[in-house]
């Protein structure tokens, strides 16, 4: 009886949903994006609990079994590999040239990649959004000066600047004593400096988009209305502008994430990333490329991990874009 009475009411009133809820529901309908999200969640858990799950430590060496591979991976090896490889099932995905477990190193490597991607994206989103908000909202001469600064930073070859900064940090680290700063960086395996280097330059692109969005939204009637009822500048930016410009900025940042992962791998590949023996997928590839002819499996493990992760971020980013701005899908 009670059910029968309630039913008509429910059909009459459609539940009101906020823009974000709508976007979330659209995102959940995208199967590939959901699968990517699950994959990344699992990866994040693996990274967070690497010290519990990983079968070995990332620097734990078993020199007798260096370059060992498990039997099931033999099909990957070049012809005649039986004559030189040590077949041992001790390591689920084999060991590297120093006898370290590849699976464990790949798990710890996820920490570096995901951690860097997350921090870099957050820094760039926060700094860039604030910079663009201030510049776009206040306008005038201040806007002019702030945007010239952005143009100036934009003109520099990004990679050269990152390389210069990382070299600088590594050099002062080698020289410097035992300040807290270096200790923290050491504890993080050299990641703190990576964060600082990226944080100092990477907000520029976000700032441009943020400012562009502000300029667009500023002319809208709801801002005019807010001004008319006497809302303060801070209130207008925080309550009215920010929520409206956040969508495109989140989409932009999420599509940048694969780039951050590539950048970390690249820097580690050229020896300017994390400090060995901290594993990173870039370092693992750079070490394994030397022995590519004899031990292709050692490249494959970090390569697959890296590619799957960026693939998932790309799919998730595309899904977010379609969900947050359905017009862009057309």
């Amino acid at each position: 009886m009670a059910v029968a009475e309630l039913a008509p009411q429910q059909t009459l009133v459609r539940k009101e949903r906020s823009l974000w809820e709508e976007a979330w529901i659209r995102l959940l309908k995208n199967k590939i994006a959901v699968a990517s999200m699950i994959f990344l969640l699992i990866l994040a858990l693996v990274a967070a609990f690497a010290h519990v799950i990983a079968p070995y430590g990332y620097a734990e060496q078993d020199l007798i079994n260096n370059n060992a591979i498990p039997e099931w991976m033999l099909f990957l090896m070049p012809a005649g590999a039986e004559n030189y490889v040590k077949i041992s099932d001790k390591f689920p995905l084999g060991a590297d040239h120093l006898g370290r477990d590849l699976l464990s190193r790949a798990m710890y490597g996820a920490r570096v990649s995901l951690g860097f991607a997350f921090v870099a994206a957050t820094i760039s989103l926060v700094l860039g959004t604030i910079y663009g908000l201030i510049s776009g909202f206040l306008g005038g001469n201040l806007d002019n000066v702030m945007m010239r600064v952005v143009d100036f930073l934009y003109a520099f070859p990004f990679l050269v600047v990152v390389i210069l900064m990382q070299t600088y940090f590594k050099a002062i680290e080698r020289r410097g004593g035992a300040s807290l700063f270096f200790e923290v960086n050491d504890a993080m395996g050299g990641m703190l400096f990576l964060f600082i280097a990226i944080g100092l330059i990477d907000w520029v692109g976000t700032a441009r988009i943020s400012r562009g969005q502000v300029l667009q939204q500023k002319r809208m009637e709801f801002i005019e209305a807010a001004k008319a009822v006497g809302a303060s500048g801070t209130r207008i930016t925080m309550k009215h502008l920010l929520p409206n410009i956040l969508g495109p900025l989140i989409v932009y940042t999420s599509l940048q994430i694969p780039g951050y992962i590539f950048l970390e791998a690249f820097l580690s590949f050229i020896g300017l990333g994390v400090n060995p023996p901290t594993p990173s997928w870039g370092i693992m590839i750079s070490e394994a490329v030397q022995g590519l002819r004899s031990f292709p499996n050692q490249v494959l493990v970090p390569a697959v991990a890296l590619s799957l992760t960026t693939l998932a971020f790309n799919f998730l980013g595309d899904g977010l874009r379609d969900a947050l701005d359905p017009r862009m899908k057309e």
Binding site: A155, V160, T167, F262, F269
Partner: protein
Amino acid sequence: MTRYIIRRILSFIPVLLAIALFTFVLMRAIPGGPFDFAGDKSLPPEVVANIEAKYHLDWPMWKQFVSYIIGDDLLGEEGASKGVIRGDLGPSLRYRGQMVNEIIKTTFPTSMQLGVLSIILALIIGIPTGIIAALNQNTMADYSSTFVAVIFLSVPNLVLAPILIWVFALALGWFPVAGWGAKPPFMLGFLPQVSELFSWSFWSHAILPVFALGTAFSASVMRLTRGSLLQVIREDYIRTARAKGLSERAVITVHALKNSLIPVITILGPLFAAVVTGTFVVEQIFGINGMGKHFILSVGNRDYQVITGLTLLYGLILVVANLMVDISYAWLDPRIRYE
């Protein structure tokens, strides 16, 4: 238009000066000098001081920079440097007896050939697939090519290069593992010899690195072409073209395509500059003697002149490429005019 171009070219000067100054200052801020060798190779401080004096590293910073830009003689000092304004990028501090100009001359052509080939590959794969995907929106062809594009974008050349070598060079043995097929002297200073261009040796060496570098670009080109063509074919002038009875083929090739290429052209500017000046990873993995490695080694070596010279060259290529991009807008879209 001419006035616009001249104004733009004049604006290059402060930009390039700023790039040079920035690199110059930042490099010198890094602790350690070009003549700090570790262990057995380390030099007594007197010797280091002597070498540094030879390269004017004992001068105050502003003077070093001015001499780097305008040359020693215009500064009224003894010295061989003719300055950047006369095309002299100075000596390398690490490779004794080599000038930065020589380093560029020997390594830049190879990097440029590799880079240009990979951009050509990106365009001939990316544009047609982008068009096909856009014209067949929401069909199997569209879904599968967008899907493949995401995969291409997700595999960095750091991963692709070793895998290509492993599969096509080592396992199948179709191509050489490493090296580059064109040797100096180059035609016009940067092109491979005609005989090399028509030899299997050149192409067999080129195919793998070009694919390793170009695959990801082809995916970006494809996505951009698809996205912008989808927008363009909804425009009014396309409806007009259809309404006046043009064939679908003419509508697309004559009216839609030209406009939809604008985003593709836009990314080509920075992409060209980045790729042509050498990509460390691909050159390193394929053992190609290109310019990419000098960007990285010279910073580690504190080879001040080399890194500043290379960054300047990069900056020059970037601003010129961006100018070309802006000029080509006017050709692609007649509504765009420059005053």
